[in-house]
């Protein structure tokens, strides 16, 4: 009942005899013969019970249910990894008791049941209802439920009637990445010139104190350190850390090579990269930074750095596009791709590459960007495991790539599969 194969098509009714008592008639007739041979009426009467069962199996008809089903979900839009609780209420709207009613919800193919069961078997009096609750986790995108399967059997359980019954209520859930800011996002020092709320390593006007230096002609009077003058009699100028907006481009590795996961039940590295990009976008957006997005598949999607409501909407559309997750393209060239990105990226931008780093080409791409003068931070969701020798080797190779990138001067955030992004970013800072 929990297998989608063998379900009748929507609108079709399938009646099948289950044959549970096949062979009983033959056995009963043998019993009759034994009873006659032994001249024992008791044996013949006992065999008659078997014959009656065989007769019932042949004559039984399935009940015609009048069932209504309502489905409800506790949240129609969820973030990746969040379970959705589904409540299925089944009501017997007919005038006869349904002694053996079986209902299996049409769980979306992209969903995994993580708690409870999407199926129930019960007996319902007229007007009675039953509720079944279970939880699913879905992949990214929209996940539509199919009409539940309703099967009823007669009281003896020898004949079954099965059909798909449309459920009222919720028919789908949407799983989209969360645009929820993180507390800390380590960026490289280089910034753009626009005003913003991110403190930079440049000095000048601002609110965060940085240093007191000797006064030079032309320094504004408002920044003279009067206490310093009172103590020493020498003029000095206070420097503050200016707050400027960074220009950051997220480069999401959406190539087939990044379509890897520790196991089929877990999100792929592309999914994790896109989810991370959404959260980091929200973080920088809140700081007033200009943010762009690029992908490394053959399509080379590109959202120029910008800010504001319409830019935010375009970024949302790009990062929630399901086709991002399919990992298309096989013509990635690290040198060519780095050149393309440098050409279209504004000067004084920095790049955050989101990639699982499971092969060398993406490493060469990152190093190439850095050598072309673009500060690169790598945020790498770790898809490796240690389940076999081959997997352990893949993990070692990935670790070596991360080390080489660090040695080349890139900032690297290694994001293990069992760790929240926030913690990985904090540890990446250290």
């Amino acid at each position: 009942m929990t297998d989608r194969e063998g379900w009748p098509a929507v609108g079709n009714v399938e009646v099948r005899r289950l044959g549970r008592w096949d062979g009983v008639a033959g056995l009963a007739l043998v019993g009759c013969a034994v009873g006659v041979f032994l001249r024992s009426p008791g044996i013949v009467l006992a065999a008659a019970v078997g014959l009656a069962l065989a007769g019932y199996q042949r004559l039984a008809t399935p009940p015609h249910p009048s069932v209504s089903i309502e489905r409800g979900v506790d949240d129609r839009t969820v973030e990746p990894g969040d379970p959705v609780t589904v409540t299925l209420t089944v009501r017997n709207g007919g005038r006869r008791r349904l002694t053996d009613l079986r209902v299996v919800d049409g769980v979306p193919a992209s969903a995994v049941v993580v708690d409870g069961a999407p199926a129930c078997r019960t007996s319902l009096a007229p007007g009675d209802s039953t509720t079944q609750t279970y939880s699913v986790e879905t992949d990214r995108g929209a996940a539509a439920f199919e009409p539940p399967l309703v099967a009823t059997r007669d009281v003896g359980g020898v004949v079954e009637r099965a059909e798909r019954v449309a459920a009222s209520g919720d028919a789908a859930v949407e799983c989209a990445p969360a645009f929820e800011p993180v507390d800390h996002l380590p960026l490289r020092a280089q910034t753009a010139l626009d005003a913003g709320r991110r403190t930079t390593d440049d000095s000048g006007s601002g609110v965060a104190f940085q240093v007191v230096r000797d006064h030079q002609p032309g320094d504004p009077r408002s920044r003279i350190a009067w206490r310093h003058w009172a103590r020493s009699g020498e003029l000095a100028t206070v420097e503050f850390q200016p707050e400027r907006a960074a220009t950051v481009v997220f480069v999401v590795d959406t190539r087939p090579e990044a379509q890897v996961a520790p196991n089929p039940a877990e999100p792929t590295a592309i999914q994790r990269s896109v989810d991370a990009a959404a959260r980091l976008f929200a973080t920088l957006d809140a700081e007033g930074s200009r943010i762009g997005i690029a992908t490394l598949d053959d399509e080379r999607r590109w959202l120029s750095p910008g800010r504001g409501r319409s830019h935010r909407a375009r970024a949302h559309d790009l990062l929630t596009d399901e086709s991002l997750l399919s990992g298309g393209g096989d013509s990635f060239d690290p040198v060519d791709s780095a050149g393309w990105l440098v050409d279209i990226t504004p000067a004084r931008s920095q790049v955050i590459v989101l990639s699982p780093l499971v092969e060398d080409a993406i490493e060469r791409f990152c190093v190439r960007l850095e050598t072309l003068g673009v500060p690169v931070t790598v945020c790498s969701p770790d898809p490796t495991t240690t389940g076999s020798t081959g997997r352990r080797l893949a993990r070692l190779e990935r670790d070596r790539r991360l080390d080489r990138l660090r040695e080349a001067g890139l900032a690297v955030v290694d994001w293990p599969r069992d760790q929240p992004l926030q913690r990985a970013l904090q540890e990446g800072k250290r």
Partner: protein
């Protein structure tokens, strides 16, 4: 309650009833015990063949009990209990295979058990009442021929 557990427990109860009805001789008791053990093992280890073997052993105990002098009502009760044990054990395995543990199936299993018990009870009671009404004077051959006629009639009523 896990799927199939209610049906399995009731199947064992029916097997015990069959054993008690036929346990008048050593051979019948041994056959009954074998049948009960086979059904118990079948529902525990999910083996439909074990259910069939158990039901056959319980059924074999009926003529053995007849040879040992068991009464006609006891043999009828044994026939009903054997059929019930087979049906419920089969239903237990089917339910366990069809539903994962979180699914609730106990209510339907009890309703099925009740329905089949009533059905078999009516059949057993009816055939015994017919037999008793004729004061037990009818020969076994006559009863058997009557049943054969009933089977033929049933077969003819439905294609």
């Amino acid at each position: 309650m896990n799927p199939g557990r209610a049906s399995a427990a009731l199947a064992l109860l029916a097997a015990v009833a069959s054993l008690m009805a036929t346990g008048v001789t050593t051979f019948a008791t041994v056959a009954g015990l074998l049948g009960m053990a086979s059904i118990a093992a079948a529902v525990v280890f999910d083996r439909p063949l074990g259910v069939l073997c158990g039901a056959l052993a319980l059924a074999a105990a009926i003529p053995l009990a007849s040879l040992g002098g068991a009464s006609t009502p006891a043999l009828v009760v044994a026939g009903v209990a054997t059929a019930l044990a087979y049906d419920l054990a089969d239903a237990a395995i089917e339910s366990r295979r069809s539903f994962d543990p979180p699914a609730r199936t106990g209510r339907a299993e009890l309703a099925h058990a009740l329905g089949v018990t009533v059905l078999l009870g009516l059949v057993g009671g009816s055939v015994y009442l017919v037999y008793a009404a004729t004061a037990g004077s009818g020969s076994p051959l006559a009863v058997a021929l009557l049943l054969l006629g009933a089977v033929s009639l049933t077969a003819a009523t439905r294609v």
